[in-house]
């Protein structure tokens, strides 16, 4: 009799445990640049994630289960990022989020792939999705998508014959520099100066002097946000007046805030901007500003979209299945009409790259002004 009661209690306990596991929170792990040179990137990304999770949980969660995320700081250091990702994967998250720096993504993506966990990240280096990793997904355009648009703009609109390139000597910067150099060659645009700078560099006086000496028709700047702000200030200080063109990291909100007047006139291609003439993006911006009291840059959008990518993919599967997640997201088109959190229609290809509309913007009186909308390709 006593053994029957014990067996009954055991069964009840196991059943209760199984039921809890079924209805327990869905665990996500985020590894981001919360301090160090990439703090702007990581903190925007983190805040975007937290906002999306709060929204989804407030509406009853994902398939009836709450989302739960742990944030770990990579300190903007690939070595630390790798250790943090390893630690995060040991806890078997549903999906891994981050990092934002391409160099950190490069060293962490093999770990996630080995664990069979999908990794949704913020890196933009072209090579990240070229290596056949089936578990890696972008939240924004890779350089192979954005650089041709920038080169075309410099050739067609600015009519520049020579360009000085300033790039940051890391995976992100070198990847961008290599792709844009090939694109310039197609248009016979001469490289007047090819200037490599260091991540975290504070003083750009010598680099700008080199640009001045090269006298290019335009300057292409491909640095991280804080360095972009510093070089814009130095370019203004040394009275460089030729067009300054870049990508998202040159014309982001944080750069505008840090560089002040020096950011005026900077132009660039951005995949994501809170100034986009899209109602859902405007609504996102309002919600973000209300919660955090500042205007996010594109990294805030990336973090937010990453969570809605998880939501749309999971709902498509109809269940929480970490092993099938990556397969389901490949080739998936998520429409903003059915999932407003995705903000704009987006399609993921077999490599994890995205197709979405983009924007050409210019900083006018401290604000991003969208000059041209570049439509989604497919």
């Amino acid at each position: 009799m006593r053994s029957r009661i014990f067996a009954g209690l055991l069964l009840a306990a196991v059943s209760a445990g199984a039921a809890f596991a079924q209805g327990g929170p869905i665990k996500l792990a985020d590894v981001a640049e919360l301090s160090g040179g990439g703090a702007t990137v990581g903190n925007n990304w983190k805040n975007g994630i937290d906002l999306a999770i709060e929204e989804i949980n407030a509406k009853g969660g994902l398939l009836g289960r709450k989302l739960e995320v742990t944030h770990a700081d990579s300190q903007s250091n690939p070595g630390v990022a790798r250790a943090q990702v390893q630690k995060a994967l040991d806890n078997e998250p549903y999906v891994l989020l981050g990092p934002g720096y391409s160099g950190s993504v490069k060293v962490t993506s093999p770990l996630a792939a080995e664990a069979g966990i999908a990794q949704i990240m913020g890196g933009e280096a072209a090579e990240l999705t070229q290596g056949g990793n089936k578990f890696l997904f972008r939240t924004s355009f890779g350089q192979q998508s954005s650089m041709p648009k920038v080169a075309k703009y410099i050739h067609d609109e600015l009519k520049a014959k020579s360009v000085a390139i300033v790039w940051v000597n890391n995976d992100f910067g070198k990847g961008g520099r290599d792709v844009i150099t090939k694109e310039f060659a197609k248009y016979n645009i001469k490289i007047a100066a090819d200037i490599s700078t260091e991540a975290g560099q504070a003083d750009f006086a010598a680099d700008v002097s080199k640009i001045k000496a090269a006298a290019p028709d335009a300057v292409f700047i491909y640095l991280n946000e804080e360095e972009s702000a510093r070089i814009l200030k130095e370019l203004k200080r040394q009275a460089i007046t030729v067009p300054l063109v870049g990508e998202t990291t040159l014309v982001g909100q944080k750069v505008v805030e840090l560089a002040g007047d020096a950011a005026n006139g900077a132009r660039g291609h951005v995949g994501l901007t809170t100034d986009a003439p899209v109602d859902l993006v405007k609504a996102f911006r309002e919600k973000f500003v209300k919660k955090y009291n500042y205007v996010p840059d594109h990294n805030g959008l990336k973090g937010y979209l990453a969570i809605y990518m998880i939501k749309a993919t999971t709902e498509k599967m109809g269940k929480v299945d970490a092993k099938r997640f990556a397969d389901t997201l490949h080739g998936l088109t998520i429409k903003a009409a059915s999932e407003p959190g995705i903000l704009m229609d987006v399609t993921f290809d077999e490599k994890g790259d995205i197709d979405r509309q983009g924007f050409l913007v210019e900083i006018v009186e401290g604000k991003q002004v969208v000059k041209q909308v570049l439509p989604k390709l497919n």
Binding site: L34, G36, A205, A206, S209, K212, K233, K236, A239
Partner: protein, 291 residues
């Protein structure tokens, strides 16, 4: 040639700020044998103090005044009373290590209170350009250079032409004899700490609009100023000034003509050469110590 002129002007402007910080190094060393490895963080903090005052609603000019006063209090008086005085009696090395700990503590505290992200900081020199010898030079570069040079000249006059300056020099050269002849040694040492706090606050005011306010911004400055002080001569104010200007120019020329990757290595190479062939520094005087 014109490029070289631009590089020299920019290098001198940065070097003048290094000189301010390096002078503080040498003053503290001379009067109290304090090697302050938190000197870079001492430059970082005043900008955040000023930002805190501005966030409270004060105008920039008031934030500058209050920031300098708070720096005198915290980085001058507080530093001497709470860290240097208790640690110095245990020797130079424990004090040097304590300043390293202080540097880490200051960085982490600023990160905790202000976030790890960079913040913009207003410039006291207005934006704009002037034409000199046919070259366009920014007012900011000239303003930084002029202000730093004015302070260095003022400090040199204070040390060499005033009674207080002579008393400070006497304290630095031989505190025991200075005490015997009636110099208020303790007060002179405190004055040195206050002068250092003023110099770092000024350096902070000049460099932060360019480097941005960030918890880690003192790392580069502290290292550059330390190298400048050794290269110029750790026991001479004029040596620190020369060292600061030299490092600023060498750093810029190295970035332009060697490579950006190796720019940080060139001042270090200069440091090694100086230590090997002229250990007292370019303008320093040899010191002998008995055991």
């Amino acid at each position: 040639m014109s490029n070289l002129l631009d590089l020299l002007v920019a290098g001198l402007a940065t070097g003048a700020i290094y000189a301010l910080v390096a002078v503080g190094f040498t003053l503290l060393w001379q009067t109290s044998q304090t090697i302050n490895f938190a000197q870079g963080e001492f430059v970082m903090l005043p900008a955040f103090l000023m930002l805190a005052v501005m966030h409270a609603g004060a105008p920039f000019w008031l934030a500058v005044i209050l920031g300098i006063l708070l720096s005198l209090l915290l980085l001058g008086l507080g530093f001497k009373l709470l860290l240097v005085d208790p640690m110095l009696r245990h020797g130079v090395l424990p004090l040097a290590i304590a300043t390293m700990a202080l540097a880490i503590g200051m960085k982490e505290a600023v990160k905790q209170f202000f976030s790890a992200e960079a913040s913009p900081f207003p410039s006291i020199v207005p934006a704009g350009d002037v034409s000199i010898l046919g070259r366009v030079v920014s007012l900011q570069s000239l303003g930084v250079l002029a202000l730093a040079i004015a302070v260095v000249i003022g400090l040199t006059l204070l040390l060499n032409r005033t009674s207080i300056g002579h008393q400070m020099q006497a304290t630095a050269q031989n505190p025991t004899v200075a005490r015997i002849i009636g110099v208020p040694v303790e007060r002179m040492i405190l004055l040195t700490f206050l002068i250092n706090a003023f110099l770092v606050a000024l350096a902070s005011l000049l460099i932060t609009p360019i480097y941005l306010a960030k918890f880690s911004s003192g790392e580069v400055l502290g290292q550059a100023a330390f190298i400048a002080a050794i290269v110029g001569g750790f026991n001479q104010v004029r040596g620190a000034i020369a060292g600061g200007l030299l490092i600023g120019v060498v750093d810029n020329l190295a970035a332009a003509y060697v490579s950006t990757q190796y720019r940080a290595a060139v001042p270090l190479a200069l440091l090694i050469i100086i230590i090997l062939f002229r250990p007292q520094g370019l303008l320093g005087r040899p010191e002998e110590r008995t055991v």
